[in-house]
């Protein structure tokens, strides 16, 4: 049971804790990610998370910081940005990764080819907490 934040989505800690379960419960999403095999960095406010993907499954999710651990690309944004993004019906400007990057509410950096080649998959992983039940 989790209450939604004042921003609309699940609290970030809850979203991350249950991310793998939510992603793994979605066969279409796993299929989209079947060729993805890499580690990326998802920074939620001050907290970095290392997310290792294997064939679309979240094989490992480690709360950082972990010194000297490498990643292919990083997606970063303040806690508020992600919690607004995860609202069941997000408001304009918080409803998409690129809506947030365009308005400075999130950033994307690093080697972007694997991200762009699997953009639908990664957008859906980022948005997966939106579907988490709040009861």
């Amino acid at each position: 049971m989790v209450k939604r934040t004042i921003h609309g989505g699940p609290p970030a800690a809850h979203a991350i804790e249950h991310l793998a379960d939510t992603v793994h419960a979605d066969p279409a999403l796993l299929h989209r990610g079947r060729f993805v095999d890499l580690e990326w960095l998802w920074e939620i406010g001050e907290t970095p998370y290392h997310v290792r993907i294997q064939n679309g499954f979240i094989a490992e999710l480690v709360r950082g910081p972990v010194l000297m651990r490498s990643w292919v690309f990083a997606i970063r944004g303040p806690v508020e940005s992600w919690e607004r993004f995860w609202a069941p019906v997000p408001k304009p400007g918080w409803h998409d990764l690129f809506a947030m990057t365009r308005t400075g509410r999130a950033t994307v950096e690093g080697e972007l080819q694997p991200l762009m080649a699997n953009l639908r998959y990664f957008k859906d992983v980022l948005a997966a907490p939106r579907a988490m039940e709040d009861h």
Binding site: P90, H95, D96, L97, Q113, L119
Partner: protein, 286 residues
């Protein structure tokens, strides 16, 4: 809105027309439905005229308007220009203008209302300014006189990224979250199915060859009235961009559409008609 059952035929008919566009032969596919005032509809970058199929099956529209939508060369069922394999496709204002005017001439359209979305919305601003005598009115959906580039379009056409997949994923966020899943994905299909480099080539027009900020104030809305409608979820052509543009055009009307994004006519046709029908009422009285 029309509710079709198995066995029903839609009132839309499709044909091909041969044109000369800026000196090059072109074979264009177009669809139409209805009768009355011609309403020429221009699709977004990287997609095609199917985006207007809901308007073409709406009797509140087709009872008064002959709704027509063509696919630009390289789009939908219109072939690319001969020799495309050795060229980089790049749409320009000049080419776009030539395509629209050649199509109007070929169909002998008498002072149509021209309505375009996104890059189609951009070109209607040009058309209203350059050929006011040829159009009864201009309706710009997700339209503005300029757009600040906000991502590297090279991602849209390179061999290590699937073009259709990345184009659809890029624009997916421009669909409002309230839009029905079926129509969201139908809209994305236009991008998933687009030819290699076509979306990127259209964005050459949209980003590099259509900064109209220095001329929109010259549009004479007494000769060609201008109406602008933009969805609140559009972060490509933002409501702010549209309102700024409308402010520069004396007499232009603008409205921000709630719960809609960058593809109002295809992503949520039921919601869109709440906004477009009053505008069509106005232009039918002109």
């Amino acid at each position: 809105m029309a509710d079709f059952q198995p066995g029903d035929f839609e009132p839309i008919t499709g044909r091909y027309v041969h044109l000369n566009i800026a000196g090059r032969p072109a074979r264009l596919y177009f669809e139409e439905a209805g009768s009355g005032i011609p309403l020429l509809c221009l699709h977004t970058a990287g997609s095609d005229g199917r985006q207007f199929r809901h308007l073409m099956t709406d009797e509140d529209v087709t009872g008064r308007f002959r709704v027509i939508a063509f696919d630009l060369p390289h789009h939908g069922k219109s072939n690319p220009y001969a020799g495309y394999q050795d060229e980089e496709y790049r749409l320009t204002t000049e080419l776009y203008d030539a395509a629209v005017m050649a199509f109007c001439d070929a169909l002998a359209l008498e002072r149509p209302v021209v309505m375009g979305c996104s890059m189609g919305g951009r070109i209607v601003l040009h058309l209203a300014g350059a050929h006011p005598e040829r159009f009864r009115a201009a309706i710009g959906l997700e339209a503005a006189d300029h757009q600040q580039p906000w991502y590297d379009t090279d991602w849209l056409h390179r061999p290590d990224v699937h073009g259709g997949e990345v184009c659809a994923a890029m624009i997916s966020g421009l669909v409002a979250p309230q839009s029905p899943e079926e129509y969201r994905w139908e809209t994305l299909w236009g991008y998933l199915a687009s030819g290699p480099g076509v979306f990127k080539g259209d964005l050459h027009f949209y980003r590099a060859d259509s900064d109209f900020r220095d001329r929109t104030h010259l549009i004479d809305t007494t000769a060609c009235p201008v109406f602008l409608l933009t969805g609140e979820y559009d972060y490509s052509c933002t409501p702010k961009d549209t309102l700024r543009t409308a402010k520069d055009i004396p007499g232009a009307e603008a409205e921000i559409m709630e719960e809609l994004g960058h593809f109002p006519m295809s992503e949520n046709p039921a919601k869109f008609r709440e906004y477009i029908l009053p505008v069509l009422d106005k232009v039918s009285r002109l």
